[in-house]
């Protein structure tokens, strides 16, 4: 009988780490200003304050790092939401956490200039929005400390609609310059990459993984239903609360920094589940690595495809993710209903 062994986990993760390192390398070497590889290497070794150093160390490297962290956060959050809701079509944005983050961030953007805040106010505001939303959602959707997946989903959908309306309202108040920022934020963009910002995302990603990885086996048990999981010894209520906290932290940080980058949290877990199986002990860490590599690749394309001009990375994840998702859906359909 085929069983998930630590050896298989280690090998798969090593392969995915290799993939991530490869995409990171391409991301450092590729860019619209066509630096030669020797230039890139010497910039990596020593900082001489010249344009090559600026480009490699202060533009490309922070972006690759941030893309990896945001991609990992969104993919892991996607796995966790799919497990919590027992639905492979869930993504980190379906529960309204992203709506709350968006309202926070866009409020800071559109009202902030009137109040004299700079762009620096956006990440904390977005993060606060995400956390507040999770708390409110959980309070509304839970009974006796337990949350039903359906309640959460419905509450989240309603909240997202409310958030969308609020965002449109705030956007209509905004001036021209904020309008561009709001648009970029809504579709997802990594152009604001800074090393210190990346630090926050890393912190919450680590915290999220530290919470989720030990729960991986319990997540497997949850796949057969809450009652089944309880009868196998899982404290379902506590597990749900822990995971909701972990995901809201990760999603909040990622969205606060990069805006609503779509499809990563939906595609990567789905794709990896098809390739590696649904066992969360492998799926969780694999999704972190896969999501990181995917977003690094998309962001590299976003800043390289059009020469000097920049595409928002969310446009590319959607372009890549949309058709990929349809393909996955058809494959799964065939697999499930095949004789």
């Amino acid at each position: 009988m085929r069983v998930l062994s630590p050896r298989r986990v280690a090998l798969t993760l090593a392969a995915l780490t290799g993939l991530l390192l490869a995409t990171g390398l391409v991301g450092t070497v590729a860019g619209p200003s066509a630096l030669s590889v020797p230039d890139v290497i010497s910039a990596l070794i020593g900082d001489d304050g010249g344009p090559a150093s600026d480009i490699v160390l202060r533009v490309r490297l922070p972006r690759v790092l941030l893309a990896a962290l945001v991609g990992a956060s969104l993919a892991v959050a996607g796995v966790l939401f799919q497990a919590l809701l027992r639905n492979p079509l869930a993504d980190p944005f379906v529960l309204g956490v992203s709506g709350g983050a968006a309202v926070g961030g866009i409020a800071a953007l559109s009202l902030g200039s009137a109040l004299g805040w700079g762009y620096a106010a956006v990440p904390p505001a977005a993060f606060a929005g995400a956390v507040v939303t999770t708390v409110v959602l959980y309070a509304v959707a839970s009974q006796d400390g337990r949350v039903s997946g359906t309640h959460l989903l419905l509450t989240g959908v309603v909240f997202n609609a409310f958030a969308s309306a609020t965002i449109v309202f705030l956007a209509s108040l905004a001036g021209l310059t904020e309008g561009a920022s709001i648009f970029l934020w809504l579709i997802g963009s990594l152009s604001a990459a800074r090393a210190d910002v990346a630090g926050w995302v890393a912190l919450f990603l680590v915290a999220g993984l530290a919470t989720a990885l030990p729960a991986a086996r319990n997540l497997n048990l949850l796949a057969l239903g809450e009652e089944s999981a309880r009868q196998l010894g899982v404290d379902v209520g506590r597990q749900q609360r822990l995971l909701l906290v972990a995901t809201s932290l990760m999603v909040g940080a990622a969205v606060a920094v990069a805006g609503l980058v779509g499809f990563v949290g939906l595609i990567i877990p789905h794709l990896l589940r098809l390739a590696l199986g649904p066992d969360h002990r492998l799926l969780l860490p694999a999704s972190a690595l896969g999501g990181a590599a995917f977003l690094v690749a998309c962001d590299t394309a976003a800043r390289t495809l059009l020469g000097g001009r920049e595409l928002p990375v969310g446009a590319l994840t959607a372009l890549a993710g949309g058709p990929l998702f349809l393909f996955l859906l058809r494959r799964q359909h065939r697999r499930v209903f095949a004789p």
Partner: protein, 264 residues
């Protein structure tokens, strides 16, 4: 005298405002199989949920080998008591073998990877139910009956002292039905374990179990050897059915429903 393997002591619970169980007291002795019967909605599944601590009773308590289950940790309870539900909705394409292996979960520790012994137990459970060939099949691709067999195998892999089976044979053909009940007998025969089986097939149940408990009106109307409990009078009250009780040559009762009782 050793304490009963499983004891319901005056259990009462209401759901959604209306009472489901009023005062259920039932004891399972070690080495015993008890059949639980009653009409649909009588509270059999609810009783199982109370026993596995999915629901908390309003009154009374449940004890495992003398210990109130409320004092046990969830994992400890899961190590000692396993439930075979009527069915499961599988959200992700886990394979049958993986699901059976999940039964080992309450016994695992550390990083959470199964040992070779765990894998062996799971494989034995699959073989015992004749579904070793389904191990690599996705649960989503199995029929209702095959899923039931997988759930029974999972419970066996869980290696509990007490086994609760909620209509484990409803989708099974005669061969598999017989096989499951044989396995339950084998399970119970192993160093004094016990089982509580819900089945709507009263005749087959009567051949397998040591006692039948009839649940009606939120409480046990009768509990005893099948021949004593399966009377026309009890069947009329519990199921609203006029039935004829015949007896097989070896003494086991045969239940033959004739018609619905005129409403009282």
């Amino acid at each position: 005298m050793s304490s009963p393997a499983l004891a319901f002591d005056g259990v009462g619970i209401g759901l959604g405002g209306s009472p489901v169980l009023r005062d259920v007291s039932l004891e399972l002795a070690p080495g015993e199989i008890v059949g639980l019967a009653g009409s649909n909605g009588a509270g059999k599944t609810t009783l199982f949920r109370v026993a596995s601590r999915v629901l908390r009773p309003d009154r009374g308590e449940v004890r495992l080998a003398g210990q109130p289950i409320a004092t046990l940790s969830r994992r400890e309870l899961a190590r000692r008591l396993a439930v075979v539900p009527q069915d499961v909705a599988v959200a992700f394409p886990f394979r049958a073998g993986e699901v059976v292996l999940m039964g080992r979960s309450p016994h695992l520790s550390g990083l959470g990877f199964e040992s070779e012994r765990d894998v062996g137990i799971a494989q034995d459970a699959l073989a015992a139910l004749g579904i070793a060939h389904l191990a690599e099949r996705s649960m989503l691709a199995l029929s209702g009956g095959e899923r039931q067999l997988v759930l029974v195998a999972r419970a066996l892999a869980q290696d509990p002292r007490v086994l609760l089976l909620d209509e484990p044979t409803s989708h099974l053909d005669l061969r598999h039905r017989t096989r499951v009940l044989e396995r339950v007998r084998d399970f119970v025969a192993r160093d004094g374990r016990s089982a509580l089986v819900v089945s709507h097939d009263l005749t087959l149940s009567a051949r397998t179990v040591d006692r039948i408990a009839l649940l009606e009106g939120g409480t046990l109307r009768a509990c005893g050897p099948p021949a004593e409990v399966l009377t026309a009078d009890n069947l009329r009250v519990v199921f609203g059915v006029e039935a004829e009780i015949l007896h097989a040559p070896d003494g086991h009762p045969l239940v033959i429903p004739r018609s619905l009782s005129p409403s009282a």
